[in-house]
Amino acid sequence: MSDHSHGIGGLTFDRSKRAWPNEINVLGALVLIIVIFEALGAYLMGQSFLFDSNERFDSIFNEARLRIIILQVSIIGIIAIGVTQVIITGGIDLSSGSVVGATAMIAMSFAQVAEVNGYPNPKAIFGPGLMDLPVLVPIVVGLICGVIAGAINGMLIAYTRIPPFIATLGMMVTARGVAKWWSKGNPVSFPTDSYAGIGSGMMPVVWFVALAVLFHLILKYTVYGKHTYAIGSNEDGARMAGINVARHKVLVYVIAAMLASFAAIILSSKNLTAQAGMGLVYELDAIAMAVIGGVSLSGGRGSILGTVLGALIFGVIISGFTFLRLDAYYQEMVKGVIIVAAVVLDQWRQRRAASKS
């Protein structure tokens, strides 16, 4: 590398401009927040936040709390994986929460048992012909819901050139309407055992980690990933380079909506019921996780790893507030502040980067 380490003709290389992976900053923030909660815990509660093994000797961690932290963020985290890709292209997806609601209702309808305790299923949507279906049916139906919602989002944005904010806002309202219309507002319950198995116990965490690893690799090592960053970085440039920007955007929005749909399947499976109000404001939490994880709202920058760290920060904060016995009202207030703070930090970082170069 030595013969490439110097510029010529006045083209010098400033070492201070070398890229410092932003994920390290996010990791630092995560550690800092944990330290703050540890300190507050020791001072206010007289106990440790995460390092309390409850008299057990095989671990120094409070495993129950760790488990809750990751479990409570993993379903929204799956949505955030899709939202991250949308934001990297320079877009936004406000429809994911409503897509969760609609998909949960529709997928659950195809996952119902014929008989509950010897009686016909009281929540049945369809006739007996569509009961006790193999688990693949509700999964495929659910993912198709995602494909439809995502394709509409993507095509509106790519071909009518309306801002992503408006297109997905429309989908947010529409999909919530579909969720309510599907069973006239009634919840859909009593899934088959195999469907209930998708999201039982710690399964949401397994899905979250698996999907995070998969999409991290996809964004880093495939043409799809490279074009996603290129479009967010310089859309006109990407077009001039011959990338089919419109088609790529449709693909990104479809993938995001499919991830939201999959999250809906896991969520309804975990709760053993689907309700029209499911997934309310999940889109904002998912966007918050991405933004906290260093995904830039102006596009081009961020990673799945960052979003996963952002999700953990999110979980640690909520869990920490519960630990300190603060009311849920305060949690929401602080959540709002954190989202805005993360965006302010991102803007500030960009301005600083711009003034340096």
Binding site: T12, K17, K226, S233, M240
Partner: protein, 258 residues
Amino acid sequence: MSNDIILETRDLTKHYGGVHALEGANFTLRKGEHVAIMGDNGAGKSTFVRQITGVEQRTRGEIIFDGQPAQFAGPLDAREAGIETVFQTLALADDLDVPDNLFLGREKTKWDWLGPFRLLDYKAMRDATMAGLEKTAVKIPNLNNPIRNMSGGQRQCVAIARTATFHSKLTIMDEPTAALGVQETAQVENIIRTLKEAGEPLILISHNMRQVFDLVDRIIVFRRGRICANLRKEDTDGQDVVAYITGAKTQPEYAEAE
């Protein structure tokens, strides 16, 4: 004679609605020749380039590139045919590194059966990038740095290095040094001389009279959407060119269009 011509346009015309941005441009470029296109803002220079490179579709006229009538559906088509363009707005993705930018839209890949999820062949792209940079004598400190962290000159060099990497038949540069400092401009001009020595034809759009007279063989002047002069460098000077640009003079063979 015809074998010698790399690019020819006949009656190339582009209207945007009622605006006649380009009107009946007849132009030829021989192999190894460096030609400058000059003219005031809005004279039709960039419109002319956009028709050749397939960024826009012409209203009428013919383009003959490398002996074949050309109908490029988009910039990638033109690029695959061998026309490499360095655009005024660099068209680089700031958040990607040098090889990524060089290969943007035509990545070297493995496992192509994966469709849009086919894998990037980072190593092959990096090797080709090094070779291309060496050919143009461009030195970039760290190939893996995002373009964002580079100076204007380095970024322009990256844009130009695309040309060398892909062995293009024709290079078009749209005001490559407009935003650069003195030293950076010199660097870019050196690369252009390297292309000249290698016998690679070039169309250079520039406002910089000194640069044009330093680098090219021939000057084409555009005015109000039409070509108004075709001047060999030896037969003209700066004042003469300015007279054509401002409309004080028009060559007789182009006069009937006025």
